[in-house]
């Protein structure tokens, strides 16, 4: 695990965070539920809580899908390539590439669409950035920078948990049992597991 320079975190008086969705995206409840599941991965191991709000402007974490240049100096590039990015605490901006073929449910590893990307996998990774984690070189870790198409990877690895608990401490109910490194992969190009 790594942290951003200066180790920015959410301050002690802002540990119950809200998240909202850009209204213009018109996301369905099914899509929003993917993010709820992703936030739960991190709240399970930390004292942080995450609550959805209908007020995008006042949300601590602002989730939005954009295409191409969307004004933050980090334009998206169409199908595959860059999938999403997120800012360090306490900025809260979480942007995803609208042009990706996002899979919301079902077994992405069995998709017939070669460019399918699992939304929950990317969401869990980007939330790590929003909370203060940088990229990790541990391949099983959620915070590893790359993810192949048609791959699902949503469980926090020991590396992720150690990093986030250094920043915020542990959830009092966390007993270590959620630590897994199960990674389901189906590579599109080279067939590696």
């Amino acid at each position: 695990y790594t942290f951003f320079p200066g180790t920015p975190i959410w301050p002690a008086n802002r540990r119950d965070l809200t998240y909202g969705f850009l209204p213009a995206n018109g996301l369905t409840d099914e899509v929003k539920a993917v993010f709820t599941r992703a936030f739960e991965k991190w709240s399970a191991v930390t004292p942080l809580t995450f609550t959805q709000t209908d007020s995008f402007s006042s949300a601590d974490i602002k989730i939005a899908f954009y295409s191409g240049d969307h004004g933050d100096g980090e334009p998206f590039d169409g199908v595959l390539g860059t999938l999403a990015h997120a800012f360090s605490p306490t900025n809260g901006r979480f942007h995803l590439d609208q042009d990706e073929n996002w899979v919301v449910s079902g077994d992405v590893t069995r998709s017939d669409l070669p460019s399918s990307v699992d939304l929950e996998s990317v969401a869990v990774h980007e939330i790590g950035h929003l909370l203060g984690l940088g990229h990790s070189s541990v391949e099983d870790a959620i915070m590893y920078p790359t993810i192949s198409a048609r791959t699902k990877k949503v469980e926090l690895a020991t590396d992720d948990i150690e990093g986030i608990q250094l920043l915020y401490g542990s959830n009092p109910n966390y007993n270590g049992s959620t630590t897994t490194s199960n990674t389901q992969e189906r590579e599109t190009n080279d067939g590696e597991a």
């Binding site: 695990y1 790594t2 942290f3 951003f4 320079p5 180790t7 369905t28 899509v31 980090e74 998206f76 590039d77 169409g78 199908v79 595959l80 390539g81 860059t82 999938l83 999403a84 990015h85 997120a86 609208q98 990706e100 073929n101 996002w102 899979v103 919301v104 449910s105 079902g106 077994d107 992405v108 069995r110 998709s111 017939d112 669409l113 070669p114 460019s115 399918s116 990307v117 939304l119 990317v122 990774h125 980007e126 950035h129 940088g134 990229h135 990790s136 070189s137 541990v138 391949e139 920078p145 790359t146 993810i147 192949s148 198409a149 590396d159 150690e162 990093g163 250094l166 190009n189 080279d190």
Partner: protein, 132 residues
């Protein structure tokens, strides 16, 4: 484009996405050696610049495989647990073209991704490190 339960969608209903991913063209640089000039190599340098491996971002990178690119490659290979050769070998290129997070691996010149230790906190006056 959202796909609920994609495995339940008949293949003939899926969109025809034969377009090439943005970085697939980099595979043509396989075997390119230091000192060589290859058309489009500047875009690979821009890739490394975007993710923090080349600190400065000039408006126009050259198409020459120079020392700056070799240094970026070595750091990238270290971060992704590849053989540190400084060369555009197949495994390195396979890693480069994978979809990824847009956040940089190296922020403000600080690379801690594969340092072996991760700096954490100044706590009681001493510098505490945690082994991976």
């Amino acid at each position: 484009r959202f796909f609920p339960n994609i495995t339940a969608i008949p293949p003939w209903h899926l969109p025809n996405t034969t377009s090439i991913a943005p970085w697939d063209a980099f595979t043509k640089f396989a075997g390119c050696q230091s000192g060589e000039v290859r058309d489009g190599l500047s875009k690979l340098k821009q890739y490394f610049s975007n993710f923090g491996y080349i600190p400065n971002s000039p408006s126009n990178f050259s198409d020459k495989f120079d020392d700056e690119l070799e240094k970026a490659l070595k750091t990238y290979q270290q971060n992704f647990n590849l053989n540190v050769t400084g060369q555009l070998d197949d495994k390195t290129l396979q890693q480069i073209v994978r979809p990824r997070c847009g956040n940089a691996d190296i922020v403000n010149g600080t690379n801690s991704m594969n340092s072996g230790k991760s700096s954490s906190f100044h706590t009681t006056g001493h510098f505490h490190t945690t082994a991976h």
